[in-house]
């Protein structure tokens, strides 16, 4: 079945031409190029008066190297990600919808396939034609049969879409219907997805990876385990979503883990890999164009160390504990990896682990597509990754595009953040009775929240307040108070409520050193939570709202405490009374922009977050 939009919306008229469905309104190459130049000359003319810019007559020099758009593409198929499952949720709806809008802006006809009707992208207004069909090669063939499709963009629908594109490629269907794959290099998919190919490729490039060996028997497994040394990860080959895999942290755990792994693998094969438990984990979001220009849109630091799936980790942007030397090493490596992976223009995500003792890094994985993290990175920076990635796939270069937020500066740049982003996963273990709530290699969260603040504690507490689990901040959300020994024991195992328990542990006087040893979480984050505990104790000591100094109240708000939380701490008032008191003292929310550039340029279409900040006074 397919749905034809009831009312065919008129496409946006861009520049010198108006395009229509038939494709007959497509501009000539020269017209298009003229339009691009016109826009760019406008930018330069605008700046000429202000900063002493280049006169417009040298434009031909600047843009003589600009690659023309691929104007042979008039109709594009976008593959969605199918059903929403744990690990692959609405982020791909976001990227697919953005990409569709971005292509239609260019006058391109967009056809969409997704098996999930409960998405924004399948709304008749998003694409020209929507197919609600199973994500199979047969469905693709049906679409290719019924439509004239010039190109397929498979990088917006997660691994599901990429795998389908690969399957269709292997069947020779793209070739049969003369459809080009854009935004991806089919050869790159295997190299990124297959653990063994990835390892060998990294070794070829001289990029360090965790030591590992493939074992086909218990004997081999034990031998390699001895060689590599504990801790280890046992990863069975050809199983879905990491099932049958596990950690080996002591000698006793080795045999059962190997046995489980070998049994889980249909070909009786496991990868015995060194576990870099306790290393710090970072993710970089990249964009690359056909001219091989690459930019890093966002660097995300995981609060939780290696060993916990990124989707189940609390993550922070920008990276909080990364020196420039360590960051540039990651940046260089990520760019080399993306360029070497294959010939494609679009988005990419690279993950690294960093040894905190030596600052050496190892590559964990690369995703040659828009990922779960790119959706987060887009919202965290204001830079619309999927939207731009779609434009790059049809041949635009980054320097030809404008920053969508400022609308005057270049899209070829790296966003600068003047706030802190905290993403917290949301789990629903209460709905999965009996499920193991230990966090590890397999993602278990069902959603996430993202909070913005001008301090890390503010962003963290705002995230806690948004979880919809009755937390009024980083407060105790469990009725069961644990004794210090119990807490120490509890923190050994990563669980969904670990951050709340860390705070309880700090309240109970357990040292940062001990918590660090138990959780391997970077001290900087633990210090921040300890600061929150100290501030709480200070507030508690006043016992009466009347006596609470205004400066302390302001500091509490800047550290993300809700009025309710403050009321709970002073105990003699309600949240409303706290609100009234701070309002009278002029401690009210101000709104700041997410503008990609730390206020360096004026923003035209930013969005806002609230915070508590001192304004200036005139004298």
């Amino acid at each position: 079945m397919h749905i034809e939009p009831k009312r065919r919306r008129e496409r946006p008229v861009s520049g010198a031409f108006s395009s229509d469905t038939g494709g007959n309104g497509r501009p000539e190459n020269s017209v298009r190029r003229f339009r691009i130049r016109l826009q760019l000359s406008e930018i330069l003319v605008t700046f000429a008066g202000r900063t002493g810019a280049l006169p417009p007559d040298c434009l031909s020099t600047i843009y003589r190297n600009a690659m023309p758009l691929d104007t042979s593409i008039k109709s594009v198929l976008i593959i969605g990600s199918g059903p929403i499952v744990i690990g692959q949720a609405c982020e791909f709806d976001y990227s697919g919808s953005q990409a569709a809008r971005s292509l239609r802006e260019e006058g391109i006809k967009v056809t969409l396939i997704n098996s999930n009707p409960a998405t924004i992208m399948t709304d008749p207004l998003v694409a020209d034609r929507v197919y609600l069909l199973p994500l199979t090669a047969e469905s693709i063939e049906q679409i290719l049969e019924e439509n004239e499709i010039d190109a397929v963009l498979p990088t917006m629908g997660g691994q599901t879409a990429l795998n389908l594109a690969k399957e269709v490629e292997e069947l020779g269907l793209w070739e049969k219907y003369k459809v080009r794959l854009i935004g991806v290099d089919i050869k790159a998919i295997d190299k990124a997805e297959d653990r063994d190919l990835f390892r060998n490729w990294m070794l070829e490039m001289n990029i360090p990876v965790a030591p590992a060996r493939v074992a086909n028997s218990m004997l081999e497994g034990k031998e390699y385990a001895q060689e590599i040394g504990i801790p280890l990860v046992i990863r069975p080959s050809f199983t879905l979503g990491g099932t049958g895999g596990g950690f080996v942290k002591s000698k006793e755990e080795l045999e059962p883990a190997l046995e489980a792994g070998l049994k889980a693998s249909p070909i009786h094969e496991v990868l015995v890999e060194k576990a870099v438990l306790g290393w710090k984990e970072f993710e970089l979001e990249l964009l690359r164009d056909v001219n091989d220009n690459v930019v890093i849109i966002c660097t995300v630091e995981n609060f939780d160390p290696m060993g916990i799936h990124t989707g189940d980790s609390i993550t922070v942007a920008p990276a909080m504990t990364l020196s420039d030397t360590a960051f540039q090493l990651m940046r260089n490596t990520a760019i080399d990896m993306m360029r070497n992976l294959g010939n494609f223009a679009g988005g990419c995500n690279v993950q690294f682990a960093l040894n905190p003792e030596t600052e050496e890094i190892i590559a964990i994985e690369i995703n040659p597509r828009v990922s779960r993290s790119s959706a987060l990175a887009s919202k965290a920076t204001g830079y619309p990754i999927a939207k731009v990635a779609a434009k790059l796939a049809i041949g635009y270069t980054l320097d030809e595009l404008k920053n969508q937020i400022t609308q005057t500066t270049s899209a070829y740049f790296e966003p600068a953040l003047d706030y802190v982003i905290v993403k917290m996963p949301r789990w629903n273990f209460d709905k999965f009775k009996g499920a193991d709530d230990t966090l590890g290699l397999q993602m278990k969260s069902v959603g996430e929240v993202m909070a913005i603040g001008r301090t890390f504690p503010e962003a963290l507490q705002k995230a806690c307040q948004s979880l919809e689990n009755n937390a009024t901040g980083l407060t105790s959300i469990s009725r069961s108070q644990m004794r210090p020994e119990e807490l120490i024991d509890y923190l050994k195992r990563p669980t969904w409520d670990r951050i709340f328990r860390i705070k309880e542990a700090l309240q109970a006087g357990i040292s940062i050193k001990t918590i660090r040893e138990l959780t391997q979480i970077d001290r900087w984050f633990l210090y921040q939570i300890q600061d929150l505990v100290a501030l709480e104790q200070k507030i508690q000591a006043y016992q009466h709202l009347d006596k609470l100094p205004v400066d302390l109240l302001k500091e509490a708000k800047q550290m993300g405490f809700s009025d309710e939380q403050i009321a709970e701490l002073v105990k003699d008032c309600t949240a409303e009374e706290v609100y009234e008191k701070r309002k009278a003292a002029g401690i009210t929310r101000v709104f700041k922009m997410v503008d990609t550039c730390s206020a360096e340029f004026e923003a035209r279409t930013p969005y806002f977050y609230s915070t508590f900040e001192t304004a200036s006074q005139s004298s």
Partner: protein
């Protein structure tokens, strides 16, 4: 220790009368200079030790500084060069296993006065709109009238010559003395990692004081000349422009970075001008017009090369432009082996996208001197 909520108050007073209240950190005292901001999110220690920031009151627009402490390797000079520091949050405790101490102690050791808990975003917007201006920070007085008086005594950056005060007193060398390539470096406030980039490429460099005459430079028998970065107004540096002219007459390869770029322009009769608020950060987009490739660059400059004069010049051609505002980022001479860039290809901090320029310079030298 958890953050102390009762910290010392501090004031930031701008030339236009705008007053910000915050908390003091670093040395207790009073300091003035020209206000500027950088949007870089990493590499604060490299930034604070960059001699090009001499005389600048620096706003860090990123939320935190000091998270990973300081160490002995990530420095661009032996001291802290900024005149004062303005930030939102300074980390009271740091986390980096290879760090040697905290940022706050480091700033104290170097007598740097700082103010935190300031609405840095509002401040950046102010500078963006009103332009660069002088300011003063004080953590020892709340007498605003007295501060205004002191602020008036802070010299204007326009027309200010600083290099001759901060250049090396005596020449020094770096690298292997037996190397086949020798480069004479004119020091106007050079960053250490520029020299690293030369020695890494097997060059032997000799660094000379800013006012060294050409005869002394020639005595080193260099295969090429490098004109360094540095603070201050290039229009006030006739002595340096003359040396650059002398160097160009030698016909040997010459490379200039930042201030060195502005001096090369001036030596070709192209004037420089004071920018509205300058470029400072690690994310500035530049396009190489020769190759068509783009690079993300580290920048730190408050003066620029006049674009119209550069375009009309017979002697030079524009090789690099800024994609945000079209400003001139690189030039080369048409009939001499000399080129320069406005940004910092050595980065530190920042991306390594532009390091090819060092290779280009070395190649130029090898070609001319028929080395290897």
């Amino acid at each position: 220790m958890p953050q102390d909520t009762i910290s010392h108050p501090a004031f930031l007073l701008l030339e236009d009368g705008t007053l910000f209240k915050g908390k003091s950190f670093g040395k207790k005292g009073t300091t003035g200079g020209e206000l500027c901001f950088t949007t870089g999110m990493t590499g604060y220690q490299e930034i604070f030790t960059d001699p090009s920031y001499t005389g600048q009151m620096l706003i860090m627009s990123t939320c935190y500084v000091g998270n990973y402490g300081v160490n002995t390797a990530d420095v661009e000079s032996d001291g802290v060069t900024i005149a004062g520091l303005i930030c939102k949050n300074i980390a009271t405790r740091y986390s980096r296993m290879i760090a040697s101490g905290s940022l706050e102690d480091y700033l104290l050791q170097h007598n740097i006065v700082g103010i935190q808990d300031v609405d840095t975003r509002a401040l950046v917007q102010h500078v963006r709109t009103k332009g660069a201006m002088n300011c003063i920070i004080s953590s020892e007085t709340d007498n605003i009238e007295a501060l205004k008086e002191k602020l008036r005594a802070v010299p204007s950056m326009k027309g200010l010559e600083i290099s001759s005060n901060i250049t090396t007193k005596e020449p020094y060398t770096a690298g292997d003395p037996d190397a086949s390539i020798r480069i004479a470096v004119l020091d106007f406030g050079i960053k250490k990692h520029i020299l690293h980039n030369f020695t890494q490429r097997d060059a032997y460099v000799k660094v000379f004081p800013a006012k060294t005459p050409i005869a002394e430079l020639k005595a080193f028998e260099p295969h090429g000349y490098f004109i360094s970065n540095g603070p201050g107004d290039p229009a006030s540096m006739d002595y340096a422009v003359n040396t650059v002219k002398d160097i160009l007459n030698e016909g040997k390869p010459m490379f200039g970075i930042c201030l060195g770029h502005q001096l090369l322009a001036q030596a070709n009769g192209i004037p420089t001008f004071k920018m509205h608020h300058g470029h400072r950060g690690l994310n500035h987009p530049v396009k190489n017009l020769i190759t068509g490739k783009c690079e993300i660059t580290t920048q730190n400059h408050g003066f620029g090369v006049d674009p119209e004069a550069a375009q009309q010049s017979e002697a030079i051609e524009v090789t690099h432009v800024n994609l945000n505002d079209g400003s001139i980022e690189g030039i080369r001479m048409k009939n001499k082996p000399a080129f320069s860039v406005q940004y910092h290809p050595e980065s530190t901090p920042g991306p390594y996208d532009s390091r090819y320029l060092f290779d280009q310079f070395i190649d130029m030298i090898c070609e001319q001197s028929a080395i290897k």
